[in-house]
Structures are given as structure tokens and as C-alpha cells.
């Protein structure tokens, strides 16, 4: 038995003994699960037990070094662990931006004190993080951000507003980009700063969307005092840190849309839903125009899935990432938006409900999903910016 096989066998044994039975078969998702944090309310005892056991073994952050609360696993071992968790359909013990964003950032750019203070608390699910980048005046032009961190000796005084901060009303800490040098060129006066949300002067307001409530918030900073030790990497070098994180976020967003396909829901596939709402003749959708649009959507979704697969297969074979990955975010989101439009059209007049009687839950969800989907081409880098990036980086077109 190879070392890796022995590792797999140990993991299996441990999971058999330690994974609570009621959590098996409920894999959750990137947005559903235990977010943790100071104010976290446990849904049941099994969730708490699962997190504690995994945290103790380092399985919440498998690839992080052991001294920071991670499992110290190699890439192959982490893959094995993920496979074994999937095999029992177990949810990850804890999820959130601590694990996916600020954790890896601190490992790459943080100093020893920051790693020791923040990483173990992330891995134990004790502290929940949110991200403070965009501002009302700085969306696509993120480098134009204005939240000011004024030098006050041993600390900064932060004033400004962040917007689109997901779950800021539930988070314990925020990692924010702030302006420390207003005189410098805009990218060169930005600092990556960690701020405790309980610091006096931090206030949060949820943002309601056209689709209803959302996890997004406005976060206001009024004379918030932040110790200088909370600067990650170097003062005025925050843009470097942010760029690394942004690229990572865009890949995550793209892959979320990549799975596309299969409408699911009680009424089955898109074709079945369409036939249900619009009728069919001899098994064929009665509305020829919609039939064509539906086929187009499914075909585009499949071509996109094949392109994601092509990129994955190339990566597995050890090739450098190719230019095709630049299309993932823009195309994946636009296909999803077309899908949501089509679903509302298929529902027809039953797609105009907001809530209440006369609309079934799936119809109401269809309407909300369509509304929410309009943001896909805007968030995580607008489609227009994505096309600029393709034109510049892939096609080499001049500025």
C-alpha cells in the first residue's frame, strides 16, 4: 500500500467514526453551510460536533500549515480528503471568505503575528470575515477608491464607505482596501488593512435588491481607529495583494456558473418545463420559436461546459492555463442570464408574481432568480471590463 493509499484508508476510518450520521448525504454548497463567527447560531448539535472534530484534525483548512490550524496536507492528500468527503456526501465543516480569501492572502502576504492571530480562528470557525473593496464611487474603477486611512502615529483613522460587502452584517472582521497616500498615483497609494467590525465607528446597513433581500451591505467607517499592525504586506502596496485576490475571485464566480445545465426543480428539465407550460404536439414543443431558443441555450451551455472541461483537462496534463479561461466569467454569466430570461418566458404570465396566492413557489423563485441574475454581468468584473481584458491580454489589441 502506497503512502497515499494508507492516508486514504486512515481518512476513511476517521470519517466513519467521526462524521455525524445526520450530516451524511447533505453536501451543502458554497453558499449554504456553517459560516461560523462570533454570532453564529448552530442549526443542530451535529454541525457543531462536526466542526470541532474537523478543526482539531486540521480538516477545515486541509492545505494550511499545521501551526496555523490547518491540516498540513499535500495537494494529493487534500484531493483524497475532498474525494472521501464527497463519497459520504458530507458538507464542509465550515465555509466562508476566511477560508477562501483572506486565509490564502495572509499565508502569501501576512506577517507571522497576523498568521498566528487570524488563521487559527478562521480554521476553527470562530471568526467570520467579509471583504471591503467596492465603494459607491469605485466599482469597475476599483483603484479609484477613496476610503481614507489617515496616519495617526501608532494607528490609522479610517473614514469612508464600502458597498456590496457581502454578509457585513454577520461578519466579525473585514479586510479592506484603503487609501493611505492621496498624493500618489492611484494604485500606489492603497493599503490592505484588517479591521475588527466591533471597533467603534463601524456601522452596517443591508442593501435590498430588485430581487428582494440580499447578503450585500453598505459598511460605513466613521473615525475608526485601526492599529498599524493590521496592515497586510506593506503600506501603499495593497494593490498587489488585491490583484492576486481578484483573479482568484473571478475564477470562483466563473466556475459557479460553469456547471450550468439541468434546470432541476419539480418540473424537471427545461424541455419538460417548456412542454408543461406551452404544450406539445406529438412530443414536440408547440411554440417553434421557443423551441429554437431553448435548443440554442442548451447547446451554448454544453459548449461552455466542454470548454471548462478542456481547460481542466489541459491543467491536469500539466499545461499552462490557456487563453480560453478568459472567456469563462463573461460567457458563463451571460448564458445563465439567458437561461433565467427563458425560464420566465416559459412561465409566461405566471412569471409576473412577486409573492402570495395564485403563484406556486417555483414560479415565484423563477421570477426572483431572473431579477437576481441581471447582476451576474455586473458583479465580479463587468462583461464590458471582461471584454476589454480579452481584447488586451488575449488579442493584444492596442490601448
Amino acid at each position: 500500500m502506497s503512502e497515499l493509499e494508507r492516508f486514504r484508508s486512515d481518512v476513511r476510518d476517521w470519517l466513519e467514526k467521526n462524521a455525524p450520521a445526520e450530516l451524511r448525504g447533505r453536501p451543502g454548497s458554497e453558499l449554504e453551510g456553517v459560516w461560523g463567527g462570533r454570532r453564529w447560531k448552530w442549526e443542530n448539535a451535529a454541525q457543531k460536533l462536526w466542526l470541532e472534530r474537523c478543526a482539531e484534525r486540521g480538516y477545515t483548512a486541509p492545505s494550511w500549515p499545521r501551526e496555523y490550524g490547518g491540516g498540513g496536507l499535500s495537494r494529493e492528500e487534500a484531493k483524497v480528503l475532498a474525494e472521501e468527503l464527497r463519497r459520504l456526501k458530507l458538507p464542509p465543516p465550515v465555509i466562508g471568505f476566511g477560508l477562501t480569501m483572506i486565509g490564502p492572502t495572509l499565508l502569501a502576504f501576512g506577517d507571522e503575528e497576523q498568521k498566528r492571530e487570524h488563521l487559527p480562528r478562521i480554521s476553527r470557525g470562530e471568526i467570520r470575515w467579509c471583504q471591503g473593496y467596492s465603494e459607491p464611487g469605485a466599482g469597475s474603477d476599483l483603484a479609484g477608491l477613496q476610503t481614507r486611512a489617515a496616519d495617526a502615529g501608532d494607528h490609522y483613522v479610517v473614514n469612508g464607505t464600502k458597498v456590496w460587502t457581502s454578509y457585513a452584517d454577520k461578519a466579525d472582521w473585514i479586510f479592506a482596501l484603503v487609501r493611505t497616500d492621496p498624493a500618489a498615483k492611484k494604485q500606489e497609494g492603497i493599503t490592505f488593512l484588517l479591521i475588527d467590525m466591533e471597533t467603534p465607528g463601524v456601522s452596517v446597513r443591508p442593501i435590498k435588491l430588485i430581487s428582494g433581500s440580499s447578503p450585500f451591505c453598505e459598511t460605513h467607517f466613521t473615525d475608526v481607529r485601526v492599529p498599524k499592525k493590521n496592515v497586510v504586506h506593506k503600506v501603499n502596496a495593497g494593490w498587489t495583494v488585491a490583484k492576486a485576490l481578484l483573479g482568484h475571485e473571478r475564477t470562483m464566480v466563473a466556475e459557479a456558473f460553469g456547471s450550468g445545465g439541468g434546470a432541476g426543480g419539480k418540473r424537471g428539465t427545461l424541455g419538460e418545463r417548456a412542454k408543461f407550460h406551452l404544450g406539445s404536439e406529438n412530443g414536440r414543443l408547440a411554440d417553434g420559436v421557443l423551441r429554437d431558443q431553448l435548443a440554442q441555450l442548451e447547446m451554448d451551455t454544453h459548449a461552455f461546459a466542454l470548454t471548462l472541461q478542456r481547460a481542466r483537462d489541459a491543467a491536469k496534463a500539466g499545461h499552462q492555463p490557456g487563453p480560453e479561461s478568459s472567456i469563462f466569467k463573461v460567457y458563463g454569466t451571460e448564458v445563465n442570464m439567458r437561461r433565467q430570461e427563458l425560464l420566465v418566458r416559459i412561465a409566461g404570465p405566471q412569471g409576473l408574481g412577486w409573492e402570495g396566492p395564485g403563484f406556486d413557489p417555483e414560479e415565484l423563485a423563477t421570477t426572483r432568480d431572473w431579477l437576481r441574475s441581471r447582476g451576474n454581468s455586473i458583479e465580479g468584473g463587468t462583461s464590458e471590463v471582461q471584454r476589454n481584458v480579452i481584447a488586451k491580454r488575449v488579442l493584444g489589441l492596442p490601448d
Binding site: 424541455g271 419538460e272 417548456a274 412542454k275 406539445s280 412530443g283 414536440r284 414543443l285 423551441r291 429554437d292 431553448l294 435548443a295 440554442q296 442548451e298 447547446m299 451554448d300 454544453h302 459548449a303 461552455f304 466542454l306 470548454t307 472541461q309 478542456r310 483537462d313 489541459a314 496534463a317 499545461h319 487563453p323 480560453e324 472567456i327 463573461v330 460567457y331 464590458e384 471582461q386 471584454r387 476589454n388 480579452i390 481584447a391 488586451k392 488575449v394 488579442l395 493584444g396 489589441l397 492596442p398 490601448d399
Partner: protein, 380 residues
């Protein structure tokens, strides 16, 4: 199914690319057209391609082929597609050749495929009629029993490479109504058969085609290819494979058309700047790029599905052809537009790509046809 090229496939790509750049530049298309070349392609180059193993690539080595697959053939066709090389892969290797290969008729295959692999014989599939559009079952050409054989009467059009073919695989109806899938039979008819009249057609993309009139052509019982009266399945399989090959060729053509266009955007100056600096053109170019990458994936998947005998093949064929059709037309329409006035001149090459894009779009089913086919195959 892995969507990557193997080292061997990369080597084939490089060899083909080198050959094409040396011996089959885009200029050939204009030369052949202007000379009103009687053959419409180069017999010498075809022979060289046969010697390189490309013509026989997907045929078994018992017939003198290389015993490789469509994943490899797609690579060759893509490279040839970059310069619109007109050699008869579609007619001979893919349509006629696949019909003989898949029919399960040893005698017919042995009689023709070794010569095909050597580059010594051209085959054509005569299957389209005036009213058939994209429906392969719309056949009114009739084959009636005549003694121990058959007498075939009808008019076929747009027969690819028909006027240079050494033999025709003719689709005729032996029973059933004019659009029935049941009742089709494939026959092998050699050129020069009595009653066979072949007239050259001139296409917008300069490719070879012919009108083939059969005026009581008599053939023996041994001329039947595959199962009599049940030719639909064989015809459908051959055309699906040809469609994959065409989509691969289209991918190469659209990639080159796009490369020419992007180069133009970088070099052409107006108002003191390269026109590629205008955001509207950047975004439109990015859109074409996105479409190309999707076609690349679809062609790779379809080619591998042929080799894996994947039950999803018909859907993947439709995906590849539909996307390739829309993307090639988009790339070349945008290409002509972005070249501006010179894009409309015969002197520039971009027009040849636009013409080929349209012709290819309208061969073996356009995008709308394939979307309808996808819908049927998906149960709606």
C-alpha cells in the same frame, strides 16, 4: 473523453501546418478560380497528401489506411481549412469513403478504399435534390428493379466533387414516399455509366460540385451498398461523420479569418491611431474570440465521440455544426466589415473566407436545422 491533444496529434498539426504554409497558401484559391482549373484542386497535392497518410488516415491499415481516428483527422482538416485548401476530403474520405467503410460490404470496400487511400480514386456522394434542402430522406430519385439489377432515374444536384469523381455513391428510393426514412438504397455507380450525365456547377466558394442526372442508369445487384431499402442509417452515419469533418475545416478557416482581422486592427491607422484601439471594435473582436473557443471545444468533443462510438454523437455533431456555422459567418462578416473598403475587394483574401463560411453553413444543415435536431434528440 479528454479534450486535449496528444503529442502525436500535435505532431500531425505541425506537419500539416508546415505543408500548408509551403504548398497550399490561400493564393491557390484565387489561382484555381482565375484559371477556371478543369479539376478544381491539385491532383499532385492530393497524391502527396495520400503519401503523407492523410487521405487514408481513418481507414483500416488492411485497406492501406493509417488506422487512426477522427481526433487525428480533425487536426488535419483544421490546418487545411486555414487556407481553404480545396482537396476532396469531404467527398472522398468522408462521404463516399465512410459510406463504403460503414456499409459492411467487404467487396465494395476492397474495390475502392485501397485506391482512395493511395490518392488514386475520387468518390462522390449523390444525395441532394432540388427540393431536399437539408432533409436526407427527401429523395425522389427512384431505383426500380430491372432484371437482377436496378434502373436508376433522377436528378441530383450540388454533388461535391461530382465532375472529377471516379465513382458515385447514389442514394435512390426503392420503396416508400418521397420523404420517408424507410425505402432508401445506396448504389455504387462508376463514372461513364450509360445514362449518367455529369455537369459542372460553379459555387460561390469555388469548390467543386456537379449536377448528376441519371437517365435510366442500369446497375447490377452487386452495386447495392449496405442493406437494400434500409439505407437511411448508413447515410445518416456517413453524413454525421462528414459534418464533423466539415466543422473541423470550418474551425481552421474561422481561426485564420480572425487572425487576419486582428492583424488588420493592429496595423490599420485612421485618425492617427490603430483602429484596434477603438473600444467598439475591441468588444466585437472579443465576441468573435469567445465564439471561436466554444467551437474549438465542440469540434474536439464531436471528433472524439466518433472514435468512442459515443451514443451522444448525433447531439455533439449538431452542436459542432451549429456553433461552427454561426461562428464562421460571424467571424467573416465582422472580418469584411473591419477591413473596411478593401474587405469588399476581390484582391483581399477575407472575402474568400466569407464565401466559404456561407457555403459551409449551408452544407449538411445550418444552425437552425441543427438546433431543431438537438431539440428532437432531447425530447422536445
Amino acid at each position: 473523453m479528454e479534450l486535449i491533444r496528444t503529442e502525436d496529434q500535435e505532431l500531425i498539426a505541425k506537419t500539416t501546418a508546415d505543408f500548408v504554409s509551403e504548398k497550399s497558401p490561400i493564393a491557390r484559391v484565387r489561382q484555381l478560380r482565375d484559371a477556371n482549373d478543369p479539376v478544381g484542386y491539385s491532383r499532385a497535392l492530393w497524391k502527396e497528401m495520400a503519401e503523407l497518410g492523410w487521405v487514408g488516415l481513418v481507414f483500416p491499415d488492411s485497406f492501406g489506411g493509417a488506422g487512426l481516428g477522427f481526433a487525428e483527422l480533425a487536426v488535419v482538416l483544421e490546418e487545411l481549412g486555414r487556407t481553404l485548401a480545396p482537396e476532396p476530403f469531404l467527398s472522398t474520405v468522408l462521404l463516399g469513403g465512410q459510406a463504403l467503410l460503414l456499409a459492411g460490404d467487404e467487396a465494395a470496400a476492397k474495390a475502392w478504399l485501397p485506391r482512395v487511400c493511395k490518392g488514386d480514386a475520387i468518390l462522390a456522394l449523390a444525395q441532394q435534390e432540388a427540393r431536399s434542402r437539408f432533409d436526407i430522406d427527401a429523395v425522389e430519385t427512384r431505383a426500380e428493379r430491372s432484371g437482377t439489377g436496378f434502373r436508376i432515374r433522377g436528378e441530383m444536384i450540388r454533388v461535391l466533387d461530382g465532375y472529377v469523381a471516379d465513382a458515385f455513391v447514389v442514394v435512390a428510393r426503392t420503396s416508400g414516399g418521397p420523404r420517408d426514412a424507410e425505402g432508401l438504397t445506396l448504389f455504387l455507380v462508376p463514372k461513364g455509366a450509360r445514362g449518367l450525365e455529369v455537369t459542372r456547377q460553379t459555387r460561390v466558394d469555388g469548390r467543386n460540385a456537379a449536377l448528376v442526372k441519371l437517365d435510366g442508369v442500369e446497375v447490377g445487384a452487386d452495386a447495392v451498398v449496405g442493406a437494400p431499402d434500409a439505407g437511411h442509417a448508413l447515410l445518416s452515419r456517413a453524413i454525421d461523420r462528414a459534418t464533423v469533418g466539415l466543422a473541423a475545416e470550418m474551425l481552421g478557416g474561422m481561426e485564420q479569418a480572425f487572425a487576419l482581422t486582428v492583424a488588420h486592427l493592429k496595423h490599420r491607422q485612421q485618425f492617427g491611431v490603430p483602429i484596434g484601439s477603438f473600444q467598439a471594435l475591441k468588444h466585437r473582436a472579443a465576441n468573435v474570440y469567445i465564439e471561436l473557443e466554444l467551437v474549438k471545444s465542440a469540434v474536439m468533443a464531436a471528433a472524439r465521440a466518433v472514435d468512442a462510438d459515443d451514443p451522444e454523437l448525433p447531439k455533439l455533431v449538431s452542436l459542432a455544426k451549429a456553433r461552427a456555422s454561426d461562428a464562421y459567418v460571424l467571424a467573416t462578416n465582422e472580418g469584411v466589415q473591419m477591413f473596411g473598403g478593401v474587405g469588399m475587394t476581390d484582391e483581399y483574401d477575407i472575402g474568400f473566407y466569407m464565401k466559404r463560411a456561407r457555403a459551409a453553413e449551408l452544407t449538411f444543415g445550418d444552425a437552425a436545422f441543427h438546433r431543431a435536431r438537438w431539440a428532437s434528440l432531447s425530447g422536445y
